[in-house]
């Protein structure tokens, strides 16, 4: 007999987890879904965000989310620089496919090994007043360390969605994802638009990384678990659609949380990947796909 309380709590925890997954994935929806750049090094940037939060938090005792917000422009510039390198080395030569993938794979690996060399393989964590206590709400138990990233994440994603659909540059980014040539005919440079968009996709890692280290202690190889998960959510959500991605993130969060509650946490990583393999095989256009 499954306890209903337990099930309800697992579902709520899953929704909160899904909000965090959405923050982790939104960058991939922009870079992979819209720009067609398979940035498998995204987890390395996320971990970079986590470790930045760790360094500043442990030395200056600032609030981790504030650190994430302050780091946004820095990560944006980093993303633009990576895109410039990628553009000159691969896109302008027309060699995106295998070499580009190998490039990002190399970045992922170099990022992980560098973090191991600098910080070692110990778990690192941040300190903040909301890590620990939780909000009791009827039968539900909502830990603040999950609730606050959830809220900030949805705010960030809502802001991004508004920016992409309402502002001029945002709509140009959507346009580049549909037809880069047409954009060129309208006298806008696809490369510049893509550079801005890739910058944004890396900038989201500053906050996503902070959420990660708020939710759980972090060690360098943890990023690997997220590669499959974020691509699963991106594909399941229909590649280019941010609302679809949020729905997919919450779905995966809930299924993972139920799996972890009833079958044990060691089975949870396989959930997202199982979803990914099934989605790719059965419905590659995803939930919200055309």
């Amino acid at each position: 007999m499954i306890s209903l309380d337990l099930l309800a709590n697992a579902v709520v925890a899953g929704i909160l987890l899904g909000g965090f997954y959405a923050a982790v994935t939104v960058g991939i929806t922009i870079s992979f879904g819209m720009l067609d750049i398979a940035n498998i090094a995204q987890p390395a940037f996320i971990l970079l965000g986590s470790y930045t939060a760790y360094i500043v938090n442990s030395s200056l005792h600032l609030d981790p989310i504030l650190i994430g917000v302050v780091m946004l422009p820095v990560f944006y510039l980093l993303g633009m620089a990576v895109y410039r390198l990628y553009y000159h080395a691969f896109e302008s030569r027309g060699e995106q496919a295998i070499q580009g993938l190998a490039f990002f794979f190399g970045l992922l690996f170099v990022g992980e090994v560098s973090l191991i060399l600098i910080f070692g393989v110990d778990y690192r964590f941040v300190e903040a007043p909301y890590i620990g206590p939780s909000l009791r709400f009827g039968i539900f138990d909502l830990p603040y360390r999950m609730l606050i990233p959830f809220i900030v994440s949805l705010a960030m994603i809502g802001g991004l969605q508004l920016y992409l659909t309402r502002s001029f540059i945002g709509r140009a980014i959507l346009a580049v994802s549909q037809d880069a040539l047409a954009l060129q005919l309208m006298a806008a440079s696809p490369t510049r638009i893509k550079q801005i968009a890739f910058g944004i996709s890396v900038a989201t890692c500053a906050l996503a990384g902070t959420f990660l280290i708020i939710i759980q202690p972090v060690e360098p190889s943890i990023g690997r678990d997220y590669i499959g998960r974020i691509f699963a959510i991106c594909v399941l959500g229909g590649m280019t659609s941010i609302p679809g991605m949020v729905a997919a993130a919450i779905l995966i969060g809930v299924v993972e949380s139920i799996t972890a509650t009833f079958y044990g946490p060691s089975w949870a990583p396989a959930v997202a990947f199982g979803f990914l393999l099934i989605t790719l095989a059965v419905r590659p256009a995803g939930l919200a796909g055309r």
């Binding site: 560098s114 396989a270 997202a272 990914l276």
Partner: protein, 342 residues
């Protein structure tokens, strides 16, 4: 060179190297290090059959490799299991049989993964292979019979066949596997199959339109590539004598098997061999002299450097140079000179 000649020559080189090293090297550590280099020749050649010839990137080398290793672990425990549950006595299973079984298991998984994802664009295949590595690792972690996350100890048989210590035996087996892998890769390269693979790599849509059975060819490539990776992994339990999920699914296998062909050159069988010997030897030396974390950093940086500066690897650099020289000669003599064969 005809295929039969190449196989004979490769076999002769392998045999000569094994005989010479076993006569002249008495230090066991040499064989431990050489085993790893040979293992990478098999892995990178296997990766290249899919990645280099058809252009589909596989980041799941670790999964196929570990499946080979774990199928050996299962076979190693099988006689005990049969003894205790069915009271049936069978002799210990010899390692060459385990290698074949490991190859079959990984080959079937390769076929399945390919069937699920190869109808999509190449990027999806790459991501699916990353996912596969995690799925398989989760299954192994939760499988108590092979030790789960604790790992499993494997006791080596007391005496090795073919004389010498057990590590020399493993080294000899790995040399045989290397010769077989390289022989298969070169045979494919010069066959209709290889032409079909190259057509897929250059333009899959055009190949399909021209009547190349692309899906079937890609499935052949994933199966073959997966099977060779599994075979490379099968002797691992006896090499390390302690098998655990974290080290057998190590990302280093995936990075190395991508980096070695990229650095050597992906269009020819010699590329992965060159890359594996070069990078494998550097890593073995760096592990001893510097540190094992730093040598992985070197591999990653070399991979990034080569894909940016020399996307066709060492082979590409050599060929560009040959072409330049041929053109210079042509300009000097002012009459056409036969270009070197590609």
């Amino acid at each position: 060179m005809r295929n039969a000649t190449f196989w004979l020559l490769a076999g002769a080189v392998g045999l000569a190297v094994v005989l010479l090293t076993r006569v002249f090297f008495t230090n066991e550590y040499f064989f431990f290090a050489a085993y790893v280099v040979l293992q990478y020749i098999v892995l990178s050649t296997a990766w290249n059959i899919l990645g280099g010839y058809t252009g589909y990137t596989n980041f799941g080398t670790g999964a196929f490799f570990a499946m080979g290793a774990y199928s050996s672990a299962v076979l190693h425990k099988l006689p005990d299991l049969l003894q205790s549950t069915f009271d049936l006595t069978i002799p210990a299973i010899p390692l060459p049989v385990m290698i074949v079984v490991g190859g079959i298991v990984s080959g079937i998984v390769g076929l399945g993964t390919g069937y699920l994802t190869l109808r999509l664009r190449g990027v999806f295949f790459a991501i699916a292979t990353l996912a596969l590595a995690i799925v398989v690792q989760t299954l192994i972690v939760n499988w108590d019979y092979v030790g789960g996350s604790r790992g499993i100890y494997i006791i080596r048989p007391a005496n090795a066949p073919l004389g010498g210590g057990y590590i020399q035996y493993l080294y000899t087996l790995m040399m045989v596997l290397s010769v077989v892998a390289v022989g298969i890769a070169r045979t494919i390269e010069r066959s209709r199959l290889g032409l079909g693979f190259a057509a897929i790599r250059d333009d899959e849509l055009a190949a399909e339109a021209a009547g190349v059975p692309t899906l079937r060819l890609k499935l052949i490539a994933t199966t073959l590539s997966g099977a060779l990776m599994g075979m490379a992994g099968a002797p691992l339990p006896y090499y390390v004598t302690y098998l655990d999920p974290t080290s057998s699914f190590n990302l280093a296998y995936a990075v190395n098997s991508v980096a070695m062909p990229v650095i050597g050159g992906m269009t020819s069988w010699i590329g992965p061999v060159l890359g594996a010997i070069l990078l494998g030897t550097i890593q073995q030396l760096a592990t001893v002299t510097i540190s094992s974390a730093l040598n992985l950093l070197i591999v990653g940086l070399l991979l990034i450097g080569f894909v940016i500066i020399a996307p066709n690897g060492i082979i590409g650099l050599v060929r560009a140079r040959q072409r330049k020289r041929a053109m210079a000669v042509e300009a000097l003599s002012e009459r056409p000179v036969e270009r070197p064969a590609q």
